[in-house]
């Protein structure tokens, strides 16, 4: 899937981004949908390309992230940091993937302290982590390169998990 051209990726991305932003205005349905299969932990191929990754990533976000980071990803003052235009979200993928794998606590962001612990999410598959990070990096006004399952796999291999 690395053969996807950047042009297609960006065009598709813009369309999906627009669709996602529009869909953000409605609250997600309360009952959590079934988690996508976790069989792809070792799989390194992005299944179905950017659009499909965004769609899957949104489902992971609803189930794993929304409770703390909220539907608009702006977080909770003093408790859970915003994911919008965050240097952690938009920056180095390795740092970002490791936050998902190992959690986060006690980090000041732009001078603000956040008191809630973020749990490690190493039980998510490489594909799920790639999808949700791709989704967060390209939703809520964010724009950054997609994350692939292969990248998550490589980072996971070099990360000490709790």
């Amino acid at each position: 899937m690395k053969t996807y051209s950047m042009g297609i990726l960006f065009c598709g991305g813009l369309i999906i981004l627009a669709a996602m932003m529009m869909s953000q205005t409605t609250r997600p349905a309360a009952p959590a949908r079934a988690t996508p299969a976790r069989t792809a932990r070792t799989g390194s191929t992005a299944q179905g390309g950017f659009a499909a990754s965004m769609a899957r990533g949104k489902q992971v976000y609803l189930q794993q992230c929304l409770a703390c980071h909220q539907a608009d990803a702006l977080g909770v003052e003093n408790m859970n940091p915003s994911l919008v235009k965050s240097k952690y979200v938009l920056g180095d993928k390795t740092v970002l993937v490791r936050i998902v794998l190992t959690g986060m606590k006690g980090v000041e962001i732009d001078g603000d302290a956040y008191h809630n612990v973020m749990a490690p999410h190493s039980d998510l598959t490489d594909q799920q982590i790639a999808d949700v990070l791709t989704y967060v990096r390209n939703s809520f006004g964010n724009k950054a390169k997609a994350v692939t399952a292969a990248e998550v796999k490589a980072i996971r291999a070099k990360t000490k998990l709790n």
Partner: protein, 447 residues
């Protein structure tokens, strides 16, 4: 407008501006939506005082006959506050603003406006109380006090006396809320640095620790001597345990006992989706009011209180499923409120300005929820809980509302203001802080 007081932190007099016309226009334009109860009117008892009310901060809804007036804005993260006998306000800032952690507001001209603003204290925190000629203030690890002169002024702003030191602060439930009794004792909340005492906090599948080792040094209320310097854990006693986190607490003079508001646990459906859906998880568990005595055990983390089933329930981390009873040995709350509303302020009203039914009842400032998502958020209001014979009596009611700015802002959690601290003025008025924008309201009643 928002920085009205920001330049006045060192005692300079703040210039005022005529916002009344703008405010009236705004009021007219929103008639029917907002009560416009918090008006830009004069301070109590004096005519012709200058106006300094930001209309955006004035849409607090209060019952008929009451009036909410903004007395200060943009002070920082204003947490708890205390008012002197002559009406000066001391408010604690959670984080330093312009290097100061306590703000003193004074109506120098007796015109009903807090025009004299002074900052001092080099620590952030939550606790603020006045008792027996001293101002008590807490950081997240220590409690200090400042001697007050006969006019309520701090005598040595640079030299507070350290009363308690070395309290546990691990970044979660860190606020050391305080209150005092009338026998020379200080009560300090030491919140549990955990949601539910799991090995890995807030992590699905991580087991609970049993017994919970946190409770030896946190998750309760500790009692210290109000006048003895440099006390540590060994000098105090664990007065009550099994309390996850308490921010709102007050000594009830009529019962001569301590009442606290517990922040109930989070994330039931995140951690146990097999037992709780998101709607249940938004409502449960209750935010509880407890009356404490020496040795009280309210049961965190082993149980929580379910205000719908009206019973203590075994926590899922300890084998519960949302239905199994919690151990009867743990104390029952005296009142229960919907989940996650975050009660940050508690005040027993002893004044005579408000109607008789309010006397010895409790006001509770609910900071507002975040852990109701994906359900709508709730709270951001001040509740009145009627009391009779020292016990809650009858249903609680929303007393002051619309701190968020609109029902939509409440639902999304993007509240404009978040009520936190409560205090009673010498005239019986009620003060409310907002730790989001640093606003302080004064609520008065006119017969």
């Amino acid at each position: 407008m928002r920085s009205l007081f920001s330049s006045g932190m060192k005692g300079s007099t703040v210039k005022t501006m005529p916002y009344r016309a703008l405010f009236i226009a705004l009021c007219l334009s929103v008639t029917g939506l907002l009560a416009c109860a918090g008006d830009g009117g004069n301070g109590p008892g004096k005519g012709g005082g200058p106006q300094k009310t930001d209309p955006a901060d004035s849409g607090i809804k209060v019952p008929s006959g009451f009036k909410a007036t903004v007395v200060a804005q943009s002070l920082g993260r204003t947490r708890h506050l205390a008012v002197t006998d002559n009406g000066m306000i001391y408010v604690k800032l959670e984080r330093l603003k312009d290097g100061k952690g306590i703000v003193r507001l004074k109506d120098s001209g007796h015109h009903g406006t807090m025009d004299d603003v002074m900052g001092f204290g080099h620590f952030g925190g939550t606790g603020m109380a006045i008792r027996d000629g001293y101002l008590y203030a807490s950081s997240d690890e220590e409690v200090f006090r400042y001697k007050l002169d006969a006019d309520g002024n701090v005598i040595s702003p640079e030299h507070p006396e350290k009363i308690v030191t070395g309290l546990l602060q691990r970044g979660e439930h860190e606020a050391k809320a305080i209150t005092l009794d009338y026998d020379g004792n200080l009560y300090v909340n030491i919140g549990a640095y955990s949601n539910a005492c799991q090995v890995q906090d807030r992590t699905k599948g991580s087991p609970a620790m049993n017994p919970c080792p946190i409770l030896d040094s946190a998750g309760g209320i500790w009692k210290f001597k109000a006048g003895q310097p440099n006390q540590t854990y060994k000098d105090g006693v664990r007065y009550a345990t099994g309390l996850r986190n308490v921010v709102g607490l007050d000594w009830n003079k009529s019962t001569n006992s301590l009442f606290v508001m517990q922040h109930g646990r989070d994330q039931l459906s995140d951690l146990f989706p097999q037992y709780f859906d998101t709607k249940q998880s938004a409502e449960l568990p209750a935010e509880c009011m407890y009356e404490l005595h020496m040795g009280s055990n309210c049961g965190w983390p082993y149980i929580y209180y379910d205000q719908i089933q009206h019973k203590k329930v075994l926590a899922p981390e300890y084998g519960g499923d949302g239905k199994k009873d919690g151990d009867a040995k743990f104390q029952d709350p005296v009142a229960a409120y919907p989940g996650h509303l975050a009660p940050n302020g508690l005040l027993f009203y002893t004044g005579t300005m408000f109607p008789e039914r309010y006397r010895n009842g409790a006001f509770i400032a609910f900071h507002g929820s975040w852990n109701r998502a994906p359900e709508p958020q709730k709270g951001y209001f001040v509740v009145f809980q009627p009391f009779k014979d020292g016990k809650p009596s009858g249903a609680w009611e929303v007393f002051a509302d619309n701190f968020s700015g609109s029902p939509e802002l409440t639902a999304s959690g993007r509240a404009r203001h978040r009520p936190c601290g409560l205090a009673q003025g010498p005239d019986g008025s009620l003060y409310v802080t907002d730790d989001s924008k640093g606003t302080i309201w004064k609520i008065t009643y006119n017969k």
